[in-house]
Symmetry: C2
Subunit: 423 residues, 2 copies
Amino acid sequence: MKKADEQEKLRQIEGGVTAARGFTANAISCGIKNPKAERLDLALVYSTEEATTSASVFTTNRMRAACVQVSEKHQRAGNLRAVIVNSGNANACTGARGLEDARTECRRVAEELGLKVREVGVCSTGVIGLPMPMVRIEPRIAELCAGLAQGKGHAVASAIITSDTREKEEAVSFTVRGKEVRVGSCCKGAGMICPNMATMICLIATDAAVERAELKKLVRECVETSFNRITIDGDMSTNDTCIVLANGASGVRLAPGKPGWNTFRAAVQHVMLQQAWRIVKDGERITKFVTVRVKGARSAAEAKAVAKGVANSSLVKSSWNGGDPNWGRIIHAVGYSSHSVNPEKVDIDIAGLPACRGGVQADTPCDQLRERVQADSFEVLIHLHQGACDHTVYTTDLSPEYVDFNRSEYAYWNQAKQDGLTR
Amino acid sequence: MKKADEQEKLRQIEGGVTAARGFTANAISCGIKNPKAERLDLALVYSTEEATTSASVFTTNRMRAACVQVSEKHQRAGNLRAVIVNSGNANACTGARGLEDARTECRRVAEELGLKVREVGVCSTGVIGLPMPMVRIEPRIAELCAGLAQGKGHAVASAIITSDTREKEEAVSFTVRGKEVRVGSCCKGAGMICPNMATMICLIATDAAVERAELKKLVRECVETSFNRITIDGDMSTNDTCIVLANGASGVRLAPGKPGWNTFRAAVQHVMLQQAWRIVKDGERITKFVTVRVKGARSAAEAKAVAKGVANSSLVKSSWNGGDPNWGRIIHAVGYSSHSVNPEKVDIDIAGLPACRGGVQADTPCDQLRERVQADSFEVLIHLHQGACDHTVYTTDLSPEYVDFNRSEYAYWNQAKQDGLTR
């Protein structure tokens, strides 16, 4: 109830990642995404305030992209004030050269903006395993920095997307003791990118003043219940990154236990969850948005394993694509996702109707279930009746078009060959 | 080398599951699979020898089909001599009624053949969650038993398949001190059945005489390196069952350390591996057979996790479908499948050519890799260079047609409705 109260205090605003005061941005077209088309593919977000704090969460994939390694090192050393992002190449599995390229990007931005190198974060998204086309990037960094201006948030949102079908922006504001605080963001999809690397990037910029340690704790908590709750194809990226900058330009200092903190938390949570949902809804060639809610598990780990098991089952996802309310496939995924579930206790509701009771078919007529599953969005509720733990995952169907879309990245390799980056 | 020697002593023979002496079989059409078409869907395999021993391995899915629960109980109580199998309905998630139906099948077979109820095993494969159409099955069991005869192995192979495109039979013989021993089998696919339940069934019948405890040990070992090494879509079935009957009709008694044992082991291993490969190659709408071999892992668990992680990645499988030698997607799946892999040590060979060395692109021209991946069958070798453990998994690509094929089981529900089994 309290959480809902706080959310009511939030106002939707325009401006995306530059909605908050004291943030400028720029985006240009360098031919990384497509050398032939004029598509924005290199972006920069910058906080004009020296007192900026930052917190970041990175992929847990062991194959961490070079940009992730460099950004994490910079984040650990202090606070980021600028973030440079490119799309079209993930700078992942690129070895020592990839690290050098990521560092070069940060160094050049730092030189232009008069920052320390470690105050610059770097994100990349696109194809894995190809060297960065630095020949297209490095000569343009001066221009990128020179063009920084207010109100260019939407260009950043455009520059960071790849296979996404639309820009993803979200911004809210709220008032603390008469002063307005803003939280803005842009992100790109995890629908597998380029065509395909599940590379999720989210940049959030707020004009609240927040201590780094407090910001870090809050960001981790909010990521856990938003971006860590979504899955499209179960493939975790080498590049997933969420960076939050807090620059204090609103003049409002926030801290746990102080006025406005809970609303600030609700604002960050709201922004992340909206963006996470957008990522799912814009998943590659998907047709359904499905909430998988598991209740009554013995442990949080079991609840999570069951929710992810169902959400990642190719068979379950295929049936959703066909509008088939197939609880048999759902329970079969439940059965291989947990070692302690009791089959006779499992209840499954699909789109609000009982589909399975006590592990067997419920009385709901099949056609009624079928009708509900034709909707673009529905919930699958799995009650294990074994304990008090629950977990929710947001996911999609699996379409023939998804597979078709992800069959080949050959075009990218051909381009790299022309750039002299591969044989 | 020794294993290869033993395999050389094996001779391919005809006859499928009734290739060995002392086994009879029958298969009839009951309208379970399709009430309108004359398709064999109820089968029985019977050992005429009283001294028969048996060993079985069942699914580890917590949602175990009623037939699995009943067969396991019977197997534990002693030895099976007959196995009744139906296709079209998996008798899974069918509650108390499903257990009663499975027991009724065993009881009726036992009555007709003069066996104890616990000497009869029961397997079902097909749609999950619908009650068994016992009205179609029970009245036909007398006829099924009456028609038992030699040489009907192929009819059994036909009756147990569902979405498989062909029957799966394998039989070999070898000689021990001048006497011939035979090992025959039939199985059905895990390409997800009916259209879809990943229900693998394998029946193996040998005329060797083997103590139950020895047989059990050998069967578990052979299943571990054959059926447990395959994955098509990562969905583990509620019904997977492998039953081996040994009836001694050859007059040859085999035991560990005695002549012929190693060849017998090689024969069972050969039959299971051939059948496992057939299942993969006949996976639903697949176009590639891919061997994923992981070497140099720190532990057996890590080797297995990485092999399965790569083999089950939708993105990796989609790229294989497109004939795309995408090592970037492979290494990204390696990275999320192990917590201890060192990115800089990973080598990947695709179809015998270096694709990745030390975590970065190898020198092999992309077009050469691409050409090799056009083949129907190739190997992906992932060397982690961290230890001495390895693991191999046999798998497939993921095709748009697979998803399309698995979009709906509605036809089965409609049929069940007509049978009064669902609303």
